[in-house]
Amino acid sequence: MSLSAADITRLARLARIGIEAGEVDAVANKLNNVFGLIEKMRAVDTTGVAPMSHPQPLGLRLRDDVVSVENQREAFLACAPQTEAGLYLVPRVIE
């Protein structure tokens, strides 16, 4: 497998990471080296093996439906780059 410049551009777009045209080849080169390492895994026969997504076979815990967290709106908004009227501010998406 080898990722092309177009693949890298598409991946960067999916990951919402801006990438300069001049960087694409260098990024592709490094990622292809990493995938060279990863590819070894694909030849292993894993027929019938159940995937392990987590170290513990635990289900999700349930808790009583009670208020457990205080409202900290002001504290959370204080971390944001831009806020207005108690809301997060982002560039307009609907004209």
């Binding site: 991946l11 990024v27 990493v34 894993t46 513990q56 780059p81 998406v93």
Partner: protein
Amino acid sequence: MIHATLKELTRALAVRELSSRELVSAYLDRIAAVNPTLNAFISVAERESALAAADAADAARAAGQAGLFTGIPLAHKDLFVTRQLPTTCGSKMLANFVSPYDATVVERCQAAGFINLGKTNMDEFAMGSTNESSYFGAVKNPWDVQAVPGGSSGGSAAAVAARMVPVATGTDTGGSIRQPAAFCGITGIKPTYGRVSRYGMVAYASSLDQGGPMAQTAEDCALLLNVMAGFDGRDSTSLDVAAEDFCRDLQQPLTGLKVGLPKEFFAAGLDGDVARVMDETVQQLKQLGCDIVEITLPKTELAIPAYYVIAPAEASSNLSRYDGVRYGHRAAEYRDLNDMYERTRAEGFGAEVKRRILVGTYVLSHGYYDAYYLQAQKIRRLIADDFQAAFAQCDVILGPVAPTPAWNLGEKADDPVQMYLADIYTLSVNLAGLPAMSVPAGLSVQQRPIGVQLIGNYQQEARLLNVAHQFQQVTDWHQRRPAI
């Protein structure tokens, strides 16, 4: 005073040989003296506030209200969120972030009486094995400033090794406590997955991330783990088991203990110094009464590709939260919402973090999920099964932490594949979710520390700490310290 272990400090405070004010003052002086060289801290507590906390601790002790750790300094890896100091994760993305809440680990340490002296440097978002990916610059190894301190908890390891704090917290996703502990000549333990709460511990790969203590000795690790570990309802994967005293078995003799040596851990590629230290450790354990058995972990090499699929996959999902909207960096100029995301993330993340996000995005993308992500999860199962087969033959597993001692700064910085290959002995433990620790066991010819790894079955931390403690009763590697 600053060379004392945590255990010794608890005694000295209890019998009033020392005050917390003297301790805090001495460690802050030490940080001021050596941090400009080592760069182990990203932020350091204000002297005034730290001394005020020390005075309060001394007053509590005078009033008979002190606990074991009241007034003892420590440092937190800079991915445990704190209200008192910024939490950067070694990233430009969070360079100015101050958390509105404290992590569970931070709360627990504070409730036990520890005084936080600062936040330690780390690879950006814990992605790295050398600390070179930190936005705040690499940490230097206190034993040799040309050498890497290991990573990602390199700041915590260097801080303990250089006696800037008696103990520090770290986290381990693929070796990030054990490998820097080995490179800096200190002791560290990665507990069973779920032991230490992940609440307020900034996520890298959630099914692998686990916090743990870093200290001079196994006994100190046990003491700090007693504080850090415990069920937390705010962490959905917290282990809901009864609290235990991790010091309880420290004094047990090792007679008849079966120590397994996985033959795959002693294969080609092991550095001569590391191989020699392994041999010496095996001899030492035999003298302590251990029986050595050869075991096999046949999927060892596959841990590298499996980890470098699973961890980036989880990271690409976890790090999607850094969008420049709710916290962290936001680009100054942008055309529209999408452009804001792309510029914010292009500017805020470093090269290694971007690389792992891109790998993760690829392996989770349509058409590749089964071939990469699902296949990696199946191999993860095979690796975990290998360990269970091995533990049918032995009580603990012994091996190297890393194939070599610390290498030079810059040596592998531009070659991610070489860097990933050096994680071979630590990754499988995280994939399986087992506890494991790093214990200082020798020095290379270049006088760089070498650590050995002890791996236990689930929830067998007390046994690992027992083995390490007994080893430290008959060796002095944990007492050696750098000249700095």
